[in-house]
Amino acid sequence: MLAISVMNGLVIGVIYALAALGVSLVVGIMNVVNFAHGELYILAGYFSYLFASALGMNFIAAMLIALALVFLLGIVIEVTLIRPTYGNDMYSLILTFILSIVLQNAYLLIFGPYPNKPPLWVKGAADVFGLFLYGNQRLAALIAGVAVIAVVFFIIKKTWFGRIIRATSQDREMAELNGVDTTRLNMLSFGLGCALAAAAGVILTPVFPVTPTAGVPVALTAFVVVVLGGMGSMWGCVVGGLLLGLVENLGAAFISTGYKNVFGFIILILVLLIRPSGLFGRAKV
């Protein structure tokens, strides 16, 4: 029971970390919280279901197309909705919140309230360290999640583009003075943030099917992870995501399944009370 809860916690924790990285990237650079993050996560799930199950494409191709489409949609959202609100954080909150409701209702209209599910990548189950049998699909999701996080870390920490991103989130004006086109960077990083939500979506939906509102708890958990880890901190997302995944699953196993999502909220309140800047956050000046 304990071992399998920890395993479940790790799998979902990696996905939380992935979703939170997308939120954190956008918060770090643009100081915008995208409330439609969960709906983009769901959209990627719908796309991969549509391409793989309905059109019969290879599941990897379906996932890649889903990622690309959500990335493009993110760019469109940035250009049409977010760009005019630069400097007014409040309007970007309102606009993305309205967008999330619009998307939820559009999904309801198009796909109906029923759960949809893309095909499994792998079948069967494996014996984990001789402790328990675990679904191969969940193990694959864990590996894929870790791989994507590694790629994101490589891009941000090692490449020139990542250097630009880090510079801009540290000091926007200074980056501009050094020739960074911050408008274009905003667009790209918003698209990248959406693509990370999409990555979490395509990895997790074979395990947890998509419904029009299934994105809300995931996005909410991602927000809690971002606050827990410290706004804009990448390691905070990883540690916070794993921590929240473990707490939720252990809490569900040993306390109550109905209150699974409440534990995250309790953590949020504790963080705000004890260390409002988060685990890895810089204290606000």
């Binding site: 919140f97 309205i98 009370l273």
Partner: protein
């Protein structure tokens, strides 16, 4: 508009509102009562978003707190609904105070995130605590009066809306209202002029939460059934859309928005459950292209009266 003229017009509108339902059937009366509930919700939410620049996503949750507190007290403990509504209002205010004090020192985004999380948690608790709340089935609550009468409910809601609106009007046009505006426009400048930014924000959040709790309590005892639909994101979205479309940061905007959208929702319902999607699209377009709402658009295109030059003495020369 001068104060006297505004007062006269609002008195005329109020008199009109008093006679309006008399000739109407039960269904239009119901639509008006629900609209008045939304007027209270949108106007108090506007105090937060429009006047102090804090976007709360937990306003519907506060209405839910008021509705469930009063409903549970009345249905389970047999307490008079009026006392229950007062207690629900106080509870919503206390929770608002707690949430506000908790996250407002970290800035606006934290309030939005925390209130969104709070409304989800409240939803989960209500659905799970079946014995107390009857979950998604809804809790049956007693009526406010011995004999259920829509017209009496209409006048109760009208009186409540007038009460809330006049409190809001007094607040906004007082020194406190200036502080609200100052905090919204430039936090740092307000701070430097001695405005206690945190206290002002927490106060606005507490007052707005109390108003939502009050409106929610009344609404629950009108519907006679309190369901998780009240503290839902959908209702929160209605309130936000009404305020944004009507005109955020203006006193009349949310009132117009509440009536317009609620009546529009009833019209769209004839064709199916598309009203949320339609509102969403309208709100998106309005928020993007006319951030001050329909009222702002009207003000923008209204011919501006030439301002009379103020006769001013030249600087006295010594």
């Amino acid at each position: 508009m001068t104060g006297k003229k505004a007062l006269l017009i609002s008195m005329l509108i109020l008199a009109g509102m008093c006679v309006l339902p008399l000739g109407l059937g039960i269904y239009p009366q119901h639509v008006l009562i629900v609209s008045l509930f939304y007027v209270m919700m949108a106007s108090s939410w506007n105090l937060l978003a429009g006047y102090t620049g804090q976007v709360s996503f937990g306003h519907a949750a506060m209405a839910g707190i008021g509705a469930y507190a009063s409903g549970i007290l009345a249905a389970k403990a047999g307490i008079n609904p009026w006392i229950g509504i007062c207690l629900g209002t106080v509870l919503a205010a206390l929770i608002g105070l707690g949430l506000g004090a908790l996250c407002l020192k970290m800035g606006g985004i934290y309030l939005s995130l925390t209130t969104l999380a709070f409304s989800q948690i409240l939803h989960i608790i209500i659905v799970n605590e079946y014995d107390l709340t009857r979950g998604t089935m809804g809790l049956q609550v007693p009526s406010l009066m011995a004999e259920y009468d829509k017209l009496v409910y209409y006048y109760i809601m009208l009186a409540a809306a007038v009460l809330i609106l006049s409190i809001l009007y007094r607040m906004i046009h007082s020194n406190l209202g200036l502080n609200f505006r100052a905090v919204q426009n430039d936090e740092l400048a307000a701070k430097s002029l001695g405005v206690r930014v945190l206290q002002v924000r927490v106060l606005a959040f507490t007052v707005a939460s109390a108003m939502a709790g009050f409106a929610g309590g009344l609404y629950g005892h009108y519907l006679l059934l309190v369901t998780p639909e009240i503290p839902s994101l959908d209702l929160q979205f209605y309130v936000l859309a009404m305020t944004v479309i009507g005109g955020m940061g203006s006193f009349i905007g949310p009132i117009i928005g509440a009536f317009a959208l609620n009546i529009l929702a009833e019209k769209i319902r004839d064709y199916g459950e598309y009203h949320v999607l339609v509102f969403g699209l309208i709100a998106l377009v309005v928020a993007r292209f006319a951030p001050n709402g329909l009222l702002g658009l009207w003000k923008k295109f209204k011919p501006i009266k030439p301002i009379q030059a103020v006769k001013q003495k030249a600087f006295p020369t010594p």
